[in-house]
């Protein structure tokens, strides 16, 4: 059984993982091995990470030099910009030598994201890119500073963004940024490595356990020899299993939940494109469980606002004329299908409406319209008014068809009467 992990920059590790990796004995000859033809995505992600590290290294090296020449610091900032933007970047300046490639970190990430599919790692890469662009802006500012203290102030901000983009562990120990994408998603799988379904038991050969694009575990031989890991896989759970060392990644619990839900769903026939009425009934919360989010008086007041400000576009029957439908069975089906939360609806009403005169109503009026819309969609009234300010709970309230007896009579379109 011979298997070589792709040899890459050593991972930043801590705690038991550090111990584990120490026993694995990162071998330097491994670093010199050639680049395989497989795993282009993996290589691009690693190259992006390497560019980010080069940018950080340039800045920290200048800082450690204790130089008194301003140009030393400015050159370091330019080297960092070059590493991030690559030689195609608009802020690239030749002359400041770096280890950067033509694409730069941003170019590598752009290339990775530039595809028809949206892989599971797209979100962390989008986040990394946003932070890298912010870092570039601060680095550009640093080029204009004259005093060392000013320089350090600006560059420390850039450094903070760079470290987030590189991937700091979160409070829960899960890695974010580029290192997170390499540790927790299939981007971390080198092109020539074996991949197994993470929901099944690990095979008896070294492999990456992947499910829905997330890495749940990595197995490496427990035998003597050098075994380099592509990147710190996160997580702290290590077991020895059948001659293999099994490392669970930080994403392992997430993947386990995904496997469990798949298994539960497997026996029942799934028809997501055309769910039956009974499936909707089962999926939707019962009326009794629905939160009371507004007062009856608010809904009553909201009806007046709707009649003067909303009706010409959304219609007296709320089924839409110059604007979409906002209440009733079809609306709630669509809301469920599109994953609309109360947060989203509130945001649209408070910040975008009316369409040609956003923000033109008072917060009281917007809140009462929300009450009226909830009432029209058969959500129950209560004693607490719909608030004028945002509430974090709203992000968790998902709109869906309301089952059970409606609080007021429904019309043919499933819109509840507002008294």
């Amino acid at each position: 059984m011979h298997w070589i992990f792709r040899c890459l920059a050593p991972a930043r590790v801590s705690g038991p993982v550090l111990f584990l990796l120490a026993t694995l004995a990162l071998a330097s000859q491994c670093m010199a091995q050639g680049v395989g033809t497989q795993g282009g995505d993996h290589q691009a992600a690693v190259a992006a990470l390497s560019d980010v590290k080069a940018a950080i290294a340039a800045i920290t090296a200048a800082d450690a030099s204790y130089a008194t020449d301003r140009n030393v610091y400015h050159r370091a900032s330019q080297q960092a910009i070059n590493a991030l933007e690559g030689s195609h970047g608009t802020d690239y300046r030749p002359g400041a030598a770096t280890s950067a490639d033509a694409q730069g970190a941003i170019g590598h990430i752009d290339a990775l994201l530039d595809r028809t599919a949206t892989p599971v790692w797209a979100a962390p890469l989008h986040g990394a890119e946003a932070n890298l662009r912010a870092a570039v802006e601060h680095l550009k500012d640093s080029l204009r500073t004259r005093e060392l203290m000013d320089y350090q102030l600006v560059v420390s901000r850039a450094l903070a963004y760079l470290e987030v983009a590189q991937g700091r562990p979160t409070e829960t120990g899960v890695l974010a940024g580029l290192e997170g994408a390499l540790a927790n998603t299939e981007l971390g799988v080198p092109g020539d490595a074996k991949v197994a379904d993470a929901c099944a038991a690990p095979p008896d050969t070294p492999a990456f356990g992947v499910h829905d694009g997330s890495i749940a575990w990595v197995t490496v031989p427990a035998s003597d020899g050098a075994h380099a890991l592509a990147e710190n896989p996160g997580g702290t759970d290590v077991t020895v299993h059948g001659g293999l060392i099994l490392l669970h990644t930080a994403a392992a619990p997430l993947v386990a939940r995904g496997c469990a839900s798949h298994a539960a769903a497997a026996p029942a026939p799934s028809t997501p494109s055309a769910p039956s009425a009974t499936q909707h009934a089962a999926a939707a919360p019962a009326t009794g469980a629905l939160p009371a989010l507004y007062t009856a008086a608010q809904a009553h007041a909201g009806a007046q606002v709707y009649a003067s400000k909303c009706v010409s576009c959304h219609g007296a029957d709320k089924q839409g004329i110059a604007a979409p439908s906002v209440a009733g069975h079809d609306f709630l089906i669509t809301a469920q299908h599109n994953g609309w939360t109360l947060e989203i609806i509130r945001y649209l009403v408070f910040t975008m409406m009316p369409m040609n005169a956003a923000h033109s109503l008072s917060p009281d009026a917007y809140a009462s319209v929300m009450g009226y819309l909830l009432a029209s969609n058969c959500y129950p009234a209560g004693n607490t008014p719909f608030p004028k300010d945002d509430d974090p709970r709203f992000a968790k309230i998902k709109l869906a068809p309301v089952t059970g007896p409606p609080p007021t009579p429904r019309d043919a379109k499933g819109v509840c009467k507002v008294n």
Binding site: C313, D330, N338, A358
Partner: protein, 558 residues
């Protein structure tokens, strides 16, 4: 012989050549034609579609013919007698909302649609209802429909929830109903399916573009099989990875790039070219997340349709990197006009920024550029604090289209002067099924007026302009007898002298007009027809208090 007659003779000469292509492809062409014949005379044949421009009795394509030119050879109604034009009949539509329909008229039956995808088949001479189909789909965007397609014995309508539906043209009974959009959260149809017989593949097709650009989708033009609605081909308007033009989108912004195909389909059957106007890029008002020119948004594209699938022949981008929703929304007008001393095949369009563009139809090179609306501050992106730019999203030149008059060598197009207070956001979040704007739609700040324009094709200079104190969305129908018909948003259907711009006739339809005017004949008499209804998105404070009951009005001479 006048210049006009010479040109018309020229147009007739083209016709046998077109038919020759069909015939040259062999007797197999008769298979599709036999099918339409067996379905009775309820729907036009391939020959009738090819000759639609010179058929004064019927109006069988959204802009009369594949050229996109709202021009009729009918001559009964003239500048001398138009004052005697009177209301022949009205049909009241039982569906509140804006009326944007281009009626399709064939063999004495008129098919019109309403805001919520109702289809009405009317007696073209009396307005009497023959059958109706009341769809009322779930509205995910806004309620509007621009008409039906008539082919192979059926009426076809694309709906507000992304369905393509076939109805029996004689009874209105549903034949089939299929979801034909890819992304149901964002995609819907407003344009009329365009019947087309592809001579290369000898196949009848329905050409239909999807509306989804302002909701975070990507546009396409697709050909569907009229028998069952399956996709024959699809041409994407935003180039994907590896395709030319892809590098005009930063990062993966192309995935929600917009460039919808709202505007209709213009075809040159002889040259085997299809001309499309493509919509604005998305997010509409935030350019920083989609750096680059953003092809093929805000462009006219000419597609080579000589093969089994269309390929891009040329494109002309009117507004690179648009941040104001200023796309060209109308069907391109293909015509032969005079530029200096040369007769040239040209293709013209307007855009919502208020520009009129005339291009060489063969090469896509710019011939003329004229400004037809009040323009201000067009180079500045919408800011977080807000800034004024003109026109706003419903200013400039809208979707109703226009016409070319060979007699005067002029382009007839209405335009609007509306300004907006625009606001941009710092960032944009995609929410399935909601606008993907990166800012707010502009607040109206006036002046909210409009005009009818006659533009000399040779010089790009106005021959005349007629100013209104309200927007004038109703397109332009030109008659061979020297009249231009157009509806004003205030509700008046107007007739102008094509040569002088003199307003010769006006009639208040009692509801707001934003649909194009058409001409047809029933029992040998020439009629003018227009739809009116609610103002919808075009509502402005200056509108007169009038009824909003949707109505079809037909006019004829006493």
């Amino acid at each position: 012989m006048t210049f006009r007659n010479q040109l018309r003779t020229g147009a007739v000469r083209l016709l046998p050549a077109t038919l020759g292509v069909v015939a040259a492809l062999g007797l197999s062409a008769s298979a599709a034609l036999a099918q339409s014949a067996s379905a009775g005379s309820a729907t036009p044949s391939a020959q009738e579609f090819a000759g639609a421009a010179s058929d004064t009795a019927n109006w069988i394509l959204p802009a009369k013919s594949y050229s996109g030119n709202h021009y009729t050879d009918a001559t009964q109604i003239t500048p001398a007698n138009v004052a005697g034009l009177h209301l022949a009949w009205t049909f009241h539509v039982d569906d509140p909302g804006p009326m944007e329909t281009s009626p399709i008229i064939y063999n004495g039956t008129m098919y019109v649609t309403s805001a919520h995808d109702h289809v009405y088949a009317l007696d073209a001479a009396t307005g009497k209802l023959k059958w109706e189909f009341k769809n009322n789909p779930h509205v995910i965007s806004f309620a509007a429909n621009r008409g039906i397609g008539l082919l192979d014995g059926n009426v076809y309508i694309g709906t507000l929830d992304g369905h393509l539906i076939a109805l029996n043209a004689e009874t209105g009974q549903k034949v089939w109903d299929k979801v034909t959009v890819d992304d149901t959260a964002n995609s819907f149809y407003t344009m009329a399916p365009v019947p087309w017989h592809d001579p290369t593949t000898n196949q009848d097709e329905l050409l239909l573009g999807v509306s989804n650009g302002d909701w975070g989708g990507n546009g396409n033009i697709s050909a569907y099989d009229p028998k069952d609605g399956h996709v024959i081909w699809r041409w994407e308007t935003v180039p994907g990875p590896g395709q030319p033009g892809h590098d005009t989108w930063s990062g993966d912004s192309w995935k929600r790039g917009g460039a919808s195909t709202w505007g209709g389909v213009t075809i040159d059957p002889a040259a085997k070219l299809m001309y499309l106007n493509l919509g604005n890029p998305g997010p509409d008002f935030l350019g920083s997340v989609r750096k680059g020119d953003n092809l093929y948004s805000d462009s006219m594209v000419a597609l080579d349709i000589s093969g089994a699938k269309p390929t891009l022949k040329w494109y002309y981008q009117f507004i690179p990197h648009d941040t104001h929703d200023w796309d060209p929304p109308m069907q391109p007008i293909l015509f032969t006009g005079k530029v200096g001393n040369d007769e040239r095949k040209l293709v013209a369009t307007g855009d919502k920024a208020g520009n009129v563009w005339i291009l060489d139809a063969g090469t896509g090179k710019l011939v003329d550029h004229t400004t037809a609306s009040f323009q201000k501050n067009q180079q500045t992106e919408p800011s977080v604090e807000g800034n004024i730019a003109c026109p706003n999203t419903l200013g400039g030149i809208e979707y109703q289209g226009g016409s070319f008059d060979p007699a005067t060598n002029t382009l007839l197009l209405p335009s609007q002067n509306e300004c907006g207070l625009w606001t941009g956001n710092k960032d944009v979040v995609y929410i399935a099924g909601q606008f993907y704007l990166g800012g707010g739609f502009p607040k109206l700040v006036g002046p909210n007026t409009g005009q009818m324009n006659a533009i000399d094709v040779s010089t790009g200079v106005f021959n005349w302009r007629h100013h209104f104190d309200l927007p004038n969305y109703g397109g332009a129908l030109t008659t061979a007898s020297g009249l231009v018909f157009s509806g004003n948003l205030g509700g008046e259907e107007n007739a102008f002298d094509t040569k002088t711009g003199t307003l010769l006739w006006s009639y208040d339809t009692g509801a707001y007009i934003q649909a194009p005017s058409e001409a047809y004949e029933a029992n040998g008499k020439e009629y003018i027809v227009v739809a009116s209804g609610a103002a919808g998105n075009a509502a402005i404070p200056e509108l007169p208090a009038t009824g909003q009951q949707s109505v079809i009005s037909a006019f004829t001479l006493k």
